[in-house]
Subunit: 108 residues, 4 copies
């Protein structure tokens, strides 16, 4: 996870964009491109009649990679949106939004 | 979720205990006692040779109930520990702790 | 997992009960009793105002233990119900039932 | 799910390929291409600084779509590999392989 948000959690005053992950946008995009490559690899495996247990192993890997991106985004959201809202006054809406996103992620 | 933390997210100055969920401790304990009942129900089902697909359905229900408790605790943690830390100065340790807990929950 | 179904997957002709897990019923009940103990431990933690991140870690542990029981039951179901149905003729209903249970488990 | 394996679970003698999903390969590839489109959509969202909660919602959707593919492949695996092995003699290796894949999927 550290790769995505490492610099930002300790340096959260400097993010240039409105939503916090801009500073690590390149790293995040790199992760998503690797996941896209995994999904294309899955298509190739299906196309070549790869044994389905091996396809399932690759699906589990892609799912784990998506999780890592999601947890990184959540950490970033907490470090920026929730923290900024707490300092500005009432963070309850941001907190609710974050925990709803966590609930969706856990169940999806 | 609202049941656990409803009053606290909008009223986070008043929680009496050190960890935030004290105000809704009764509701949280009630949820955990219902889950304990579900686990005892599972033992009864196994003991009576209930069809295993029905046992699995009950396991999924218990798992969902555990998730609901976990997401409620996380919301509470964000609303109290993270928000308090943000106001006091540096929330980065609390944010990291929360996102590590989210990562463990998603993978468990 | 092996503990639950170990003997049965290699010896699936001998299970005495109608649903396959009877032979390992004692092991399965032991697992469920340990999970019940984990849930009671969670109640104690909440009652004693344990730091919520530690409660969440214990919830993740209970969830993992429930998963292990579920996967063991599924393996048992495949080794008995699906296999028996395949030998008797048309297993498609048993297969559908098993994959529906897997889908519920993955999403719960 | 039905879309992937519908015809095959009721007609499992006719699949042309060695691993069972060949008959529905086109449908399965279509699903994977839609998931690839979701991942590219995620890159666009990050690139355009979309609010991270909305990115997380899209990640949950992609994860659900991956789950649907995985459960469909598992159903197919049960309907073909496990059933064929049961009829040929000893299905225990296929059963173990399937339940290990389920365990990986549930934890990933």
């Amino acid at each position: 996870m550290g790769g995505i948000v490492g610099g930002m959690t300790t340096d959260h005053e400097e993010h240039p964009g409105p939503h916090g992950y801009s500073g690590d946008k390149a790293a995040l995009l790199g992760r998503l491109r690797r996941i896209e490559g995994q999904i294309r690899g899955l298509q190739r495996m299906v196309d070549e009649d790869t044994y389905c247990i091996d396809v399932l192993t690759q699906i589990s890997a892609a799912k784990s990679a998506l999780h890592a991106v999601a947890v990184g985004l959540l950490e970033d959201h907490l470090a920026h949106c929730v923290v900024d809202a707490a300092r500005a006054g009432d963070p309850s809406a941001k907190v609710k939004e974050a925990s709803d996103a966590i609930a969706r992620l856990v169940r999806s």
